[in-house]
């Protein structure tokens, strides 16, 4: 029996699945034993990173109107707001790390870090900022140029963030982190396929 026959059950399951995929990794990170040996700025920085990753799961679902109750213009408005929060989370993440250990953050920003994951994170950070600038200039761009640029940047953000997170030994628990990353990649690929941004495909 198709689940579409029971829209309320379907909505409940969709929101439940999303809540669970975000709450489980966030819960593990918020109770990590490593937090006992970290200062407040470092704790905030880490959690801001986890929240940013969780938002990357919601963004493609909002863009394609897959979230019950948030299809169409409402979903796109939410997508813009969450994009702004994402920028804020990245700023908290980097600022908190800077307070904790300035030279490590300087190395990362200059691509001179000994840790490969920081390169992925910094590339994703610039892609997030570039997306924000692009979104602000959106009305001056041709709609197709905007969509292509946004899609390309979104792919860089997701790929960079996922590799960044997976290579880090930190407060996130390994399995819940891997599951969240897999869901983010799947949701992004689905959105890119659904939105048909690239030429060679008929609308």
């Amino acid at each position: 029996m198709a689940i579409q026959t029971f829209p309320r059950l379907r909505n409940f399951l969709v929101w439940g699945a999303i809540a669970l995929s975000i709450a489980v990794p966030l819960g593990f990170a918020a109770t990590s034993p490593l937090l006992a040996w970290r200062g407040p700025a470092y704790i905030v920085a880490g959690l801001a990173g986890v929240i940013a990753m969780a938002l990357l799961l919601v963004q493609p679902l909002l863009a394609t109107g897959h979230l019950p109750g948030l299809a169409g213009p409402r979903g796109r408005r939410a997508h813009r707001w969450i994009g702004g929060i994402l920028v804020l989370m990245v700023v908290f993440h980097v600022a908190g790390l800077w307070i904790t250990s300035p030279p490590d953050v300087v190395d990362a920003l200059l691509f001179a870090s000994p840790t490969p994951f920081s390169v992925w994170g910094v590339v994703a950070m610039w892609a997030v900022f570039a997306t924000a600038v692009l979104a602000a200039l959106r009305r001056r761009l041709r709609p197709l140029s905007w969509r292509r640029a946004h899609t390309a940047l979104a792919i860089v953000i997701v790929a960079g963030s996922v590799v960044h997170a997976l290579l880090i030994e930190g407060t996130m628990e390994t399995i819940s982190k891997a599951v969240l990353c897999a869901l983010v990649v799947a949701a992004t690929l689905k959105a890119v396929a659904d939105l048909r941004t690239w030429p060679g495909r008929t609308r």
Binding site: S101, D104, A112, P114
Partner: protein, 162 residues
């Protein structure tokens, strides 16, 4: 055919190069530095505090940082060399002065200093070590632990005169 000639030429050149490499390989090692100097690692000097005091132990201990200090070239052990050690541990982060301490190498060029357990920070469980006393060129190391549950970490210095 041109192809055949080129191939033969390439083969001759390659054989010649190989023979030359082989011969020089036999001659050169006698003059080469047997033990090359250790280069500083990327990020090794991060949160370094020059002049950290020589201590019996950093904080409460429970974790061992070990290593050796030798001279470049002949590999002779260097006694009495000051090595500074710091890390993000259960008792403080890298910027806290009490996370830092120094020790001296023994007659065999070996050092070991007890310190609090290193915990993962900035993505990896790692320690920092510095040789920065002037007689030899300064070297900063940043070894990474194989596992966060390890209770020791090892780092070797090979120093060249300043």
């Amino acid at each position: 055919m041109t192809d055949a000639i080129l191939t033969r030429r390439t083969l001759l050149a390659a054989t010649g190069a190989l023979a030359a490499a082989g011969v020089s390989g036999i001659i050169v090692p006698a003059r080469a530095q047997a033990v090359p100097a250790t280069p500083s690692m990327r990020g090794g000097s991060n949160n370094y505090l020059p002049g950290a005091p020589i201590v019996e132990r950093i904080g409460g201990g429970g974790f061992w940082m070990t290593g050796t200090v030798r001279r470049a070239g002949d590999g002779a052990p260097l006694a009495g060399q000051r090595i500074q050690i710091w890390a993000h541990t259960t008792e403080g982060n890298e910027r806290d002065p009490w996370s830092h301490g120094a020790t001296l190498t023994d007659a065999n060029g070996a050092f070991r200093l007890e310190m609090p357990q290193i915990v993962p920070a900035f993505g990896q469980p790692h320690g920092h070590l510095a040789y920065d006393s002037g007689d030899f060129k300064t070297v900063f190391l940043r070894p990474v632990m194989d596992s966060a549950s390890d209770t020791s970490l090892h780092a070797d210095f090979v120093l060249q005169p300043a």
